[in-house]
Symmetry: C2
Subunit: 645 residues, 2 copies
């Protein structure tokens, strides 16, 4: 009895593979209790190499089905080719041999890793089995995440001690402290430890522990074992069937080649190769392979929407650009008030009692902030960068604890009492709904003025160096047309002055976030002035539901359990409510300004079902965190293919 895949479910390699056990049921193979034999000779040889078994030994004691029952194997091989050609997808087949006769018990599309998903889709495309659109539809966007998972840093790896090998059950690199039970895995992870869960084999009770662990290592069980299947489903690094490990639950240790690894010791796993290393090995981000790149090119061919990124630093911008982001949809500027000397000037501004004092303090921040923008614009040269003006409430910039307040008082040479009074006066009952966003810019227009100078000043500097910056200035938290108009006035007049001084100018746009329900409801008014809309669906979800994201912990889990909500609306965009506002605002905005550029920059911009909705609404782009860019690109292409035919 055996289980086989028409292609490699882990790597996608076009290689028939599978495992079988003599005198056993299919579930025994899957359960991983006994190490099964391989179906193909090549598979058997690969397995033996990993397990450190000599060819003679292998042939004699672990023969493949191909060697042991060549005729049955031939018949099985014919079936797998026929079935795959029929279904035009990789098949997961279960079979049994009774009295010399082969019975195919079941066939279905096989589960696979993200890497396999991409490779199989692209291989089948090249093999002429499926067309481009089908290839694009074959890949689950969420699974792409696995391909973007960390790999080991090559330099760190050179010094790493390889102690054993197992099966490359689920790709990615992981490093963490050894624990021997699911409970420990969950518990240690809860307190912030990275853990590798080590088991002889796993069972469904281990699920929570597996989810909490960085990686999973088992001594028994093949590529179709519980550990391997579940880890792939989770997109989690897993090395299975590392038979050389002696795992002792009671002593809480692993013995392998005279090395003893105790609970809490670091090990590192490469789920893409099966390598097991002693100690902590630094990981780094993945490099996409050729198939992945080709798939991404296909997504561009079929997408109607483009994909931008939410990036606040040049590094993030470059990562996203590598993944194919064609601009920054959200560059937050909060951190540009925080680092180093800037926070001192920012606090000086906050303590100032008049415009002049605030302007003086802001003038100190200007050069730093301009330099920040230069670096980001340079990284994103020739692509648009949407910069959001200062958004958070001012109390986020002052220390809440007395110790910090004392330091601030000392640094600024003002009495502690004055600091405390100001901090107190900045306190808000509901900061989410308080003095933030363009409410800041409209009460302290000098902030908007300084930021405009920094943004456009940076672009002018780059222009001198022959680098094209395409800045889009975004007003946050607009709820009223006149709020936007007041901010636009400050931006345009500051720009005019700056351009006159410089004797040069920059093309720039002024647009707004749509994140307040009222902005969506009155989008036709706001679009009379705003050149673009970017939906901030995080805040829009908070206000449309009346949920504070920080405070949903007491009821949201119960709502999900009781099925009052089908999904967390902060993860999957709520089409019926929030989506209705998004659609309404897009329609109202475009009715006034047909060429209105519309995008989304909430976390939903990287979630496939939400991306599909954005396509349906007719957005120009979605913007998401750098590592979600490929997911968004694929989801956008799928949405276009699914909805436009």
């Amino acid at each position: 009895t055996g289980v086989c895949f028409t292609r490699d479910a882990a790597t996608g390699e076009d290689q028939f593979m599978g495992e079988y056990l003599v005198n056993a049921q299919g579930e025994d193979v899957v359960a991983g209790i006994r190490t099964p034999l391989q179906i193909t000779k090549i598979g058997s040889q690969r397995w033996a190499e990993l397990a450190g078994i000599k060819e003679d030994d292998r042939k004699a004691n672990y023969p493949s089905l191909e060697e042991a029952m060549p005729e049955i194997y031939k018949e099985l091989d014919d079936y797998q080719i026929k079935l795959e050609n029929h279904y035009k997808d990789m098949q997961d087949m279960e079979f049994t041999v009774q009295e010399g006769k082969l019975w195919i018990l079941q066939t279905r599309s096989g589960k696979r890793t993200g890497a396999a998903m991409v490779k199989i889709a692209m291989d089948m495309l090249k093999q002429g089995m499926i067309d481009e659109k089908t290839a694009v539809l074959r890949v689950d966007p969420i699974k792409l995440d696995e391909l973007l998972h960390p790999i080991f840093d090559q330099d760190a790896l050179k010094n790493a001690e390889l102690i054993a090998k197992g099966l490359a059950a689920s790709p990615g690199a992981a490093t963490g402290k050894v624990v021997f039970s699911a409970d420990d895995a969950a518990e240690w992870a809860e307190r912030g430890e990275d853990v590798i869960m080590v088991r002889v084999e796993t069972s469904p009770e281990d699920l929570a522990g597996m989810a909490a662990a960085q990686g999973i290592l088992t001594a028994r069980g093949g590529m179709t074992s519980h550990a391997a299947v579940v880890a792939r489903g989770m997109g989690k690094c897993c090395v299975s069937g590392a038979g050389t490990l002696k795992i002792d639950y009671n002593a809480k240790q692993i013995e392998v080649n005279d090395i003893v690894i105790k609970e809490g010791d670091y090990i590192s796993l490469n789920g893409s190769t099966g390598d097991i290393y002693l100690g902590e090995v630094a990981t780094k981000e993945a490099e996409p392979d050729a198939d992945f790149k080709e798939l991404m090119e296909l997504t561009s061919k079929y997408s109607k929407m483009s994909v931008r990124t939410n990036a606040d630093t040049p590094d993030e911008a470059l990562t996203a650009r590598r993944f194919g982001a064609v601009g920054i949809g959200l560059c937050r500027t909060e951190h540009m008030f925080f680092d180093g000397d800037k926070i001192i000037a920012m606090r000086e501004m906050i303590l100032s009692e008049d415009v002049e004092g605030r302007k003086k303090a802001l003038a100190k921040i200007l050069p730093y902030q301009q330099a920040d923008f230069e670096r980001i614009f340079e990284a994103m040269h020739d692509l648009p960068v949407t910069v959001r003006l200062l958004d958070p409430p001012l109390h986020e910039f002052v220390p809440r604890e007395e110790k910090g307040q004392q330091e601030m008082a000392k640094a600024m040479n003002v009495p502690l009492k004055k600091i405390q009074q100001r901090v107190e006066s900045l306190h808000e009952a509901n900061p989410m709904l308080g003095h933030r966003g363009c409410r800041l810019g409209n009460t302290f227009p000098e902030i908007t003025e300084m930021q405009t100078k920094a943004i456009l000043g940076a672009a002018l500097n780059l222009k001198k160096r022959g680098i094209t910056a395409i800045p889009e200035i975004m007003v946050p938290l607009t709820g009223i047309l006149y709020e936007f108009l007041e901010q636009e006035k400050v931006i345009r007049s500051t720009a005019k002055e700056l351009f006159e001084e410089a004797g040069d100018s920059i093309d720039y746009k002024v647009g707004t976030m749509i994140e307040i329900p009222r902005a969506a409801l009155t989008a036709n008014r706001i679009a009379t002035a705003a050149e673009f809309f970017s939906f901030g669906t995080n805040d829009l979800t908070q206000m449309t539901f009346g949920y504070s994201r920080d405070d949903i912990g007491t009821f949201l889990p119960i709502y999900l359990e009781k099925k009052i909500l089908k999904a967390d609306p902060f993860q999957v965009l709520d089409r019926k409510g929030v989506g209705q506002l998004v659609e309404m605002a897009t329609e109202k905005g475009r009715a006034i300004r047909p060429d209105l550029k519309v995008g989304i920059c909430g976390e939903h911009g990287g979630e496939p079902s939400s991306v599909e909705f954005c396509h349906m609404v007719g957005m120009n782009y979605v913007s998401c965190s750098p590592f979600r860019v490929p997911i968004a690109r694929l989801a956008a292409a799928q949405a276009a293919i699914n909805h436009d035919e």
Copy 2:
């Protein structure tokens, strides 16, 4: 030169009246620098009586125009009758006499007190000058407020020492500490003191002080003086022209009939009679007069909407009923968890770690709460009472300060630490958007169960006594259909059980607040289950704008000043944004359930422009605080008259 009114601008009495000064400009009469003479003999006699001037003296030294220039007076009287008949409204005329010839310089509809507004409208209706609709439209709803202003408690008045009399310049009763400048009035009021602003005469610089004061008293100036005109405009109690007072700004004192009143001493004013009392005299609410009642009857005749009240106690309910409220639109139940022993049981519930513990604690609250409902239902017998289930977050029921926590620990016999931990765990970053409303009822359904028992149990008890209660149970803060369905399930099943036990039943409705934007957007879904909608426009405004009412102080005044907002949206319903949601929800709800009862219970329910909007949207009723009921009734009638023809 003189100013005259075709009817009494203070009381509305159909009596020609006015004042004149010889050798003066019109503005001198208005400025109140010199005490003017009366136009009519009867007016002159009334004035003399107040001023303590004997008839002989009056005739000789303060003759009326009627006596001094009978022919001119006759001509003026003819004009005033002609002009009023022409304009069909009370006229404010300015005239001058030059070389024995009368010149009418100007005529316009005269400003008047709320009382005069009602009396003049109803008199003109009876006199056949105007029709019913015009009479209704003649009264400014906001001015009705004045009629509902406090009057002196009759018992308290018996013991009050009358020290002087002035002109009844603007009605109402006021009591407070004497201050002698507008700045002092504003400053003292700022720190919570009730003040009476005493001036020889007032000028436009005194406006802020007048607004801050409980009442205004002047020694000089007539019924048309600055103080009198402005006070009537503000609906503020004013006694003017009390010539017997000797006001000394330097010594900060008043001398009158050998009595010395110093700054900070209490005096009391009756703006409807002109009486001035020494000391503090208790005030009480107004009793509406016959004209007022007739006007209210007219409003019922023309209104399409009915007016309910927001009332949490039997007293409030009775007051509102007296003003013509035909039900309670919002009965909050928070206070029913607070008073006396209830708060102890409530805290016990909050500290309970399981359902059984919570149920046990709630069972203690049940009889108190049921008794509360019985009293309210009895006060509102035969009229519907919409009861809102528990709404505020639980942390409002536990003490925030350590002192209170220690008391709580002692009272409940649990360690302080446990109390503190629970209080800490209830803390929320944005309580407005946190665990409250039906999120409480859905996580702790036992609260909903207890409240349902209390509401319907109360109604059953009254039924036994032959009193009809019409309870409507209202689920707060619904945002998702399933939230409502879950609560409805608890309510219906609890009711069923209760009715079976009692062998009797009560007709009741289950509906919901619409105060979350998502509820308005998905009203067609919610209306499949909810039997009525009540717009909670306070919260709906908070979420639609993204404003926390507690935190707008830092930017809203600037927004109003910069005209980013035309009005405070918490006072005047924002038609473009919030109103759009209200209209959408009403339409969507009625599309599913044509007989859906729709009302409003936010503070906007008593604001005339908002009431007009509710009429335009087609609501069944508005609900407002008891003293705003007449205002809402009038505004509803005016809206119906203005929009339906």
